[in-house]
Every structure is written in structure tokens, then in C-alpha cells.
Subunit: 576 residues, 2 copies
């Protein structure tokens, strides 16, 4: 329409509105909402692209039990135009799957499996293909070679209306190659070496994946190699089943429709973790129907009875063999070599379950002093740059660089009463907090996978894990920090005492130095009184002996565990 | 599986992985990721449900040009089990659309239209239907009456595997009813009267929709009526076209494929805002192809040329008649009556465009003192509860209560240098910041629609709008605040002076009162010196006269506008 005004239409009827009803594909949805995939913002988009390709490469190597050797290259090809190449030595893709992997949203190998993987939605890489074609009109080139037959090269685009891949220009290559290489062009993105750049992303990826060799060539041609610090291929995570403690009636109903079992008893045994003969016996005793019934005939009310029993029976904790933590020793080694802190505390917590029956596990570390924390532009009194808190967030060993404020990890850090651990001002401490949540299903707040949702069980466990390392650390640091603060305060008062002494010397005719010394005494007496009072208030914290602290902590943990247990008992079927 | 260990499978080949490839429906995706829809967390979920139903009701009334009269009722029907009923007086739904509206994700009237509406995805209500059936196994009941024929009642469920609605138990009702009433049951949710409760949600909805009458009956039976403060039906937002300043090559390509125009010239005139004869003339002169060509034959390179011209031509600003701000007067009236502040500044900014050609507009208000800010548990020296900053976020007049940290509005508030406006400690000020972003497409960070993505143009405009009201406000408040702070500091020093005087009286034998008076003089001199230095450092802010401040502000705005213009010129086609 031209510059003229458009008429304002009159009110619509239900029939008018009905005519406007349309359906949309998931590709159309995300195409209009690329911000939900983390693919807007010049700098953020480029990091997200590297993140998506890297995650797929690391997952593929893990599935194939191969030590990953991954090369990332970013070339500047014009004003805010870059080409991204990611090449791995993984198992490769078959000709049939390459289109789906890079050209169809919600298609993949991970969404339906309960297994700890980096990717889980089948959206990321196809989102990149969409961004590439949206900004440059060009297809994404994929070269892939498997252990069978020669490698191929194809060009992939997406038809958003139908969320369907288009695969063109298939070429059978003569050279030897096993693995997958993806090459795509993007416009309106920007490479900047910052805290949220691809380089920092890869550095953190290296920290959390010590068995991977990662090579990065930036647009200036600078090559950075993060060599593996461990040559051991980690055991593959295994697929697990939902743990009865966390499943809902709907979960039981959904699984009952697709099970191959012929009886409810065997269905429960086969499809859920830790359900053995004893549990079946217990359930049989308490439900109103026959467990020999066909599970495909299971009714909602009956599933409700089963879930009620699931809540009552004391099952073994979820199996840990499905989850693959990085491991305390490796985290320690990684952080020591990269952060070089004065103090380091690492902990791996026991696996827990959150709603849906998904097991998860927290790895946490506190690094203090040395190069811990991030450099800030603030200066201290002596003009030195001040280090501030840095939170390194990971999920299934993948670094999370964006949406910091919306993430459960950040919220958990903020919710801990660090003063109790001798940290008065956590924001301004030279502290790196490392947190890795591993799970067979990570509850991200958005399809862009940059922040964890604050699910109750996860928040609780995050807090407990932070408190655990916090408690250990404050034995060392609390005392030192408090001493420093005392000194600072004294210095300040002495400064004013000198000023006052000059005035008083004039006033009384006595010597300035004499007055000053007396004043210092007064100030010191005053400050000591204050400190003593403070110490009294802090009774439960820093002024206790180590044993007392240990006792106090154990008491608290036990109380928390008890409350947790109580809560769990109270939970109704749909506790989410 | 029973308690025994499962074998760890060996490495998979490309063929093994290929067999694991599956596709999933968007309903399955969100069912497994309800947290992305804001439908996890007991308290949050209940508020989100009310939010989704309310948004649809308000939108429907707006489309039909009806003064909304909406009743929300929440009944407790068991432990953590509630029934939610939302009834409106809107145009109703036809029998054909009711299933799609409540039982199919990504189906609706809003996604494909560039129009300012509360809903925009066609996901929300169907997500609620899914949550209801997941937690209770029950369908969602919808009663709806249009201007044609008798009202009907149906029960809707979703088949997640196929993202398809199932509509059962159709009953033709004998009573008179026009509008839509939805009734659904949920388990594992909880009604709590807190800052993020349905009540607070409805209170804020009333603030931003002064023409709506909203009645709320809570589980205790307490009835709250938010009566309309305006009886004028707001003019309906109108559908608009993308503004050439923000469209990408891909946007042009996509539109060219579905246009009914026979020539590129008429295609550009018809499908884009503000493209008139002069613009066509200009484009004709500079592109390498004939604008009489069929737009369906448009090539990527040619579309690139068009977009390059779009960037160069000075178009009229996007039309404002499509957007419907609440209006300064109404915001003022709303906030005055609800917040009763001492100071209030309201501004409605001019519409701007962000990437994609989407126009948007910011309404902003600062309310200071009185009941502004939120009550905190902190106490001041006199034991009074301290009020802290409260940020009321809205998008298209819909309150955003969750994901505060991840929202562009919060980030913009944090990024403003409030010290320049005389606010030393914004976190602890009795301040309510009201921000409403209206747009034909709101860039939410997630399908749960609780936080705005920090798109560059939006962040810039948010900052400018906050600075505009901040500047106006600090004339009044800055002086008062600084005086208060001075007094506080003096008090503190006097306190110590008294202590010192006691000591000195002992030391010198002189009268305590005499020494104290002298000390006060010294301290005062010292503090005045400090204040003078501070004022010098603040040169650009509070110590300037009003005229100077005005000048300084204008200079800054101009500089920012210039930089903005410069940036825009530099932007390449894909600036997002």
C-alpha cells in the first residue's frame, strides 16, 4: 500500500475470525522467532552456530566411541559475512539421514531416547541451515564419509512451509574421509574476541571435554589448539528408563500405549528403572486390578493407582551408569591448569531425579584467587584491576554462555547465603564457580538451550552442591577475608584520626603525634568492640571451631534432606 | 529392567545411528519441554494458564470491537488440584475452529498477520489443554456462542503424536450465551497470593487495559473486581505490512512467492509499508533488471538489489496507525490510582522498526515515592520496611511476571547509568518502572512469552525511553536524595566524633562538649570538601542548572541518534 491511510475495519464476527485460522509448520515458527534458537544478535548468533555444530560432532564421536578431533574454522568473506566450517572425525552420516540432520526441525536420534547427550531436540543444526539460507540465499554444504563406501558431498536447504529438507548436488568424492564436515555462510553476524565469542566457547568446551582435541582457526588466521589432557575415551552414556519416583500418570499412560509387553507386570518391569519382583509384588497387593491385564487396556484411574504405589515404594536410587560426569579429578586438573587458583574445591553430587523421572547429577567447583574470576574494569585503591565473580555454566558438558540471568544456575548462586561462608560480597570476589548439570533430559528454558529452567528438584540440588563446596572453602578463606576487611576498616579510621589530630593539635596546643597515637588507641578499642559484637552475631558461622562447623553443617544438611524427604512423600502424582 | 546392570553397548556406526533417526511433532516437543511454555513450577503454571486464556479473551474482544467483561474463577478441587474457568463476552468461536483453538499447536489467526495482538503463536491455549490432560487425564471443556445459532459445549483433548485436536461430547445448549468460556482442571499446581500470583497478574492486566472489566474469584471465594476506568473501546490495531527499512532479502523472496501482483513494481507497492511511486522510480533507476518482471521469477541477487535500495531511500517512518499504545493519559491515570506515587513521569516514544521490518513502540513511566516500589523485608535504621525497585514489564499490554533476569527490559534498566539522574542506588529506591512494548511481532525469548529478546534496536529504544523519563525525574528527586545522603553521612561521622570526644576529654582534661563542638566543625569542613569534590566529578549531572541539563541531554540524544543513523547506514541486508 502507498502512503495513504488504510481504513480501520469494523468488529469481526466469529465467522470472520474463523476464516483467518491457519496452521504453521515448526520451521515457520522458528524462522519468525530465530531469537528463540539463540540465532539473533550478531555476536551471539556466530557462537550459537559453532555451539550447534560442535555439540553434534562431540555427540557423534561419543556414540561411535571415537576420541574426538574437531576443527573449527571461521573465515571472514565480506562485511559482517562469515563462513563457518566444522570438521569432525566421527562416524559420519548415511546418505538418507544427512538431509534430516541438517534440513528438518524436530528430527534426530536424541529426542526420544533417555540418554545423556549434548543435543536433544533435533533443531539446532537445521536452524543454522535456515539462518544461512535466510541471510545469504545459499545452501549448507555437508561432506560426510562413513565406514561403508566413498564419502559424499551434498547441499542442503529447508522448505520452511513444509519443514522439509532439500538435498541437491550430490557428488561422490574420490578422496578418503571418515567423519562429517559442514560448511555454511552467514550474513549479519560478527566475530569479536569477547567473553561470549566462539573462542571462549571452545575454551570452555575443552575444559569440560578433556578427551577432545579442538583446533580453532579464527578469521585472522590465528590457530589455537586445545589439546586433549586425557586420552581415555569416556565410557558411553547409556540409554536409561524413567525412574518410578519421578513419573506421572500421563507418562505411564503414554508408555503403556507403545509397549511390547503383554502384561502390565512385565510392562512395569521392562519400561521403568529399578522396578523388580519385590516392587511388582507390592503393587499387586495394593491395586484394584489384575497386573496380568494387557497394558494397552490400562485406564487412567489404574495408572493413577500405579503411580500412587510408585511414590510409596522405596526404590533404589536411579542408576548412575547411564550418566557420565566429567569426574572430580578431571575437573580439578582442567581448572588448575586453566584458572590457576589459590584454592580449589570440587564435588560431584549423587544423582537425583526431577519430575518426569529424569535422573540428573551436579558437578561443582569453586576456584578462588589466582586467575579465578573475571577481570573487570574496576580498579582497587592501589589502581589494580579487580577480579569479579565468574560463573561457568555447563549442561551435559556443553558451555552455556548466554541468558545468564534467566538460568537456574545463576539463580542458585544468588540464592545461597554466602556470608555464612565468609564471603561478604560474592559479586566482587576473585571467584570462579563451575557448575555442570548432566541429565538424560536437560530442562532448558528455550529451544536455544542457553539457560536451565528452575525446576524445584534441580534448584534444591544446585543449592546443596554450592553449599557443600562453599562450606569446605570458607575454612580457609573466611578467616583471611575477615582479616583483610578488618585491616581495611582500621586504615580508614586511622586516616580520619590523622585529620582530626591535626585539628586537635591546633585546638589544644599539644603535639599532633601524641594526639594521633591516643586517637589510634581509641579507634582500635572501638573497632575491637565492634568486631566482637559482629563475631557474636555470626555465632553459627565463622567463629566456630572446625569441628563445630562440621557439626553445624551436617545438622543443616540432615534437616534439608529430611524436609526434602517429607516433601517427596507429600507430593501428589503430578509434582512437577 | 530389573536391578541388574545393563551392558554398555559398543560404538555405533553411521548405519546404527541412522536407524535411530525419528521425527517428532511440535506437540511432542513442547509436551517434553513444558518449561518452555511457562507451564512448570506449581505457582508459575497456574498464572501462565490464566495468562493464556486471558490473552485470547482480550484479543477476541478487541477483534470484535467489544468492551471486554471477563470473569476468572479458580476453584480448589483437591490437594494441589485446581479448576480454572475463564469466561468472556467476546465474539465466540465457530464449531469448526474450537478444536484448533484449544487442541492444536501452531494453529491460529495471529502468527501470519502483522498486527498488534496479545497472542501471536497459536500455542498457549493448546499447551494448557495438554497440561490438563497430562495431569488429570481429563479433557478441557469449552462453551462458546456466536451471533449465529445456539451456543455449544464441547470437550477438547490433543493427540500429541500428530498434534491433532480431538473434539468430543458436542452438546447444543438451550440457554442464551455469546462469548467463550473455558473450564479445565489441573493437578500439581498451587494457588498462592504472591507477587507472581494470578491476582497480581490480573491487577497488572487491569492497569494496562483500562477499558476491560475483570472479575476474579479466588479459591477462598473472595471476589475482586477491577472495574474499567475507561468506557471507550480502543480503536482496533490494524494489520500492517513490513516496513522496507527492516526487511531482509529472504523476507522479499518469501513474499514474492505468494504475492498476487503480476509485476515486481506493484508487488513492492502492495506488500510493503510506505513504498510509493517515488520509491519505485528510485529503485527502477538503480537496479539491473526490469520492475515489470513477474515477481514469482524474482532471483536472490535481484532481491538483494532491491533491499540495498530500501536501505538508501528515505522512507516515511513506519505507520503508527497499526499500533495502539495505551496512551500517556491512561497510563498516568492507572498508575496514579494504583501506585499513588509522589512523582510520576510518563512518556510514549515514537514508533521504531526492528529487524524483520516490525514496527514497535515503547511506553514508559517512572513512579517515585508513595506506594511506588515493592515492599521488602529489609528494614531501615528506624525499623521501617524499605521499599525497593519494582519493574512492571508489559508486551502488547500483557504483564510479564516471570523470567525477569532474562528480559531486555530488565537489562535495559540495569544498563542505564542512573547515578547521572541522581539515583545512587536504584535497587533500593521506592521506584516503580513501568514499560510496555507494543509491536506487531514481539520477539520473546521463548514460546512461554515471559521475556523480551535483547534485539539491538529494541534495547536502544528501551534505554532512550528510560533515559527520557529519568532525566525529567531527576530534577526533582536528585536534589532531595543527595540531601538525604549528606545528612546520613554527617550523622555517622558525628556519632564517631562523640566517641572520640569522650576519649579526648579524658586525655586533655577539657570539657567533652567543647571538644565535641570543635570536632563537629572539623568533620563538617571535611565533609564539605568531599561533597565539593564529588560535585566536581559529577559535573555532567546533578550540579548543572536546569537549562544546562536540558542542553546536555539534548546533546547526548542527538549524539545517540547520529550514531544510530550511522549504524543504520552501515547495516548490511541481514542486520538482525
Amino acid at each position: 500500500m502507498a502512503e495513504d491511510e488504510k481504513p480501520v475495519p469494523a468488529g469481526m464476527t466469529a465467522e470472520d475470525i474463523s476464516k483467518e485460522f491457519k496452521e504453521h509448520s515448526v520451521a515457520e515458527f522458528f524462522k519468525k522467532n530465530m531469537q528463540m534458537l539463540g540465532l539473533t544478535g550478531k555476536i551471539k548468533a556466530l557462537t550459537t552456530i559453532v555451539h550447534e555444530y560442535m555439540s553434534n560432532s562431540l555427540d557423534a564421536c561419543e556414540e561411535a566411541h571415537i576420541l574426538p578431533d574437531i576443527e573449527v574454522q571461521i573465515n571472514e568473506i565480506g562485511n559482517e559475512q562469515y563462513e563457518v566450517i566444522v570438521k569432525d572425525n566421527g562416524p559420519g552420516l548415511t546418505e538418507e539421514t544427512v538431509g534430516k540432520a541438517f534440513g528438518k526441525l524436530l528430527a534426530g536420534t536424541k529426542f526420544h531416547r533417555m540418554i545423556q547427550m549434548r543435543g536433544q531436540q533435533g533443531i539446532g543444526s537445521s536452524g543454522c541451515t535456515m539462518l544461512s539460507q535466510m541471510t545469504t540465499g545459499k545452501p549448507t554444504q555437508v561432506i560426510t564419509g562413513t565406514s561403508k563406501g566413498p564419502p559424499i558431498s551434498v547441499e542442503v536447504t529447508i522448505d520452511p512451509k513444509n519443514n522439509a529438507p532439500k538435498v541437491d548436488n550430490l557428488v561422490i568424492l574420490k578422496k578418503e574421509f571418515k567423519g562429517t564436515a559442514v560448511k555454511a555462510k552467514f550474513k549479519g553476524v560478527k566475530f569479536v574476541n569477547s567473553e561470549s565469542s566462539p573462542l571462549e566457547y571452545l575454551r570452555r568446551t575443552a575444559i569440560a571435554n578433556p578427551h577432545a582435541k579442538i583446533t580453532f582457526i579464527d578469521p585472522a588466521g590465528t590457530k589455537t589448539v586445545f589439546d586433549r589432557t586425557s586420552k581415555q575415551i569416556p565410557a558411553r552414556p547409556t540409554e536409561i528408563q524413567p525412574h518410578p519416583r519421578g513419573v506421572s500418570v500421563d507418562d505411564v499412560m503414554t508408555l503403556s500405549k507403545t509397549t511390547k509387553s503383554k502384561k502390565i507386570a512385565s510392562f512395569l518391569r521392562e519400561e521403568f528403572d529399578r522396578v523388580g519382583d519385590k516392587a511388582i509384588e507390592e503393587i499387586t497387593k495394593h491395586v484394584s486390578f489384575d497386573l496380568n491385564k494387557d497394558p494397552h487396556q490400562l485406564q487412567w484411574d489404574e495408572a493413577e493407582e500405579i503411580v500412587a504405589q510408585f511414590k510409596k515404594i522405596e526404590f533404589l536410587a536411579p542408576r548412575t551408569d547411564g550418566l557420565r560426569p566429567i569426574g572430580e579429578e578431571r575437573v580439578q586438573k582442567s581448572l588448575k591448569s586453566i584458572v590457576e587458583p589459590e584454592f580449589l574445591e570440587v564435588a560431584t553430587r549423587k544423582p537425583q531425579v526431577y519430575a518426569g523421572g529424569f535422573p540428573f547429577q551436579i558437578e561443582v567447583a569453586l576456584a578462588y584467587g589466582g586467575n579465578a574470576g573475571r577481570m573487570s574494569t574496576d580498579k582497587d585503591e592501589e589502581g589494580q584491576s579487580v577480579r569479579k565473580i565468574e560463573i561457568m555454566r555447563f549442561a551435559n558438558n556443553v558451555p552455556l554462555l548466554f541468558d545468564t540471568g534467566g538460568c537456574a544456575i545463576t539463580k542458585a548462586v544468588q540464592s545461597v547465603d554466602w556470608k555464612r561462608y565468609g564471603m561478604r560480597d560474592i559479586e566482587n570476589a576473585p571467584l570462579t564457580i563451575f557448575v555442570n548439570l548432566i541429565s538424560v533430559h536437560v530442562p532448558y528454558t528455550s529451544a536455544g538451550k542457553q539457560a536451565l529452567s528452575d525446576e524445584e528438584a534441580i534448584m534444591e540440588e544446585l543449592r546443596l552442591s554450592l553449599m557443600e563446596v562453599g562450606r569446605k572453602m570458607f575454612r580457609y578463606i573466611g578467616f583471611r577475608k575477615r582479616e583483610e576487611e578488618k585491616q581495611k576498616k582500621r586504615k580508614l579510621f586511622y586516616k580520619y584520626a590523622t585529620e582530626v589530630a591535626i585539628g586537635l593539635a591546633e585546638l589544644t596546643g599539644k603535639k599532633k603525634e601524641e594526639i594521633e597515637a591516643k586517637l589510634h588507641d581509641i579507634v582500635l578499642r572501638h573497632l575491637k568492640l565492634e568486631e566482637a559484637q559482629e563475631a557474636k552475631q555470626q555465632q553459627k558461622g565463622s567463629e566456630l571451631s572446625e569441628e563445630e562447623v562440621e557439626k553445624e553443617y551436617q545438622k543443616r544438611v540432615q534437616k534439608e534432606e529430611k524436609e526434602k524427604a517429607k516433601k517427596k512423600k507429600k507430593l501428589t502424582v503430578q509434582e512437577e
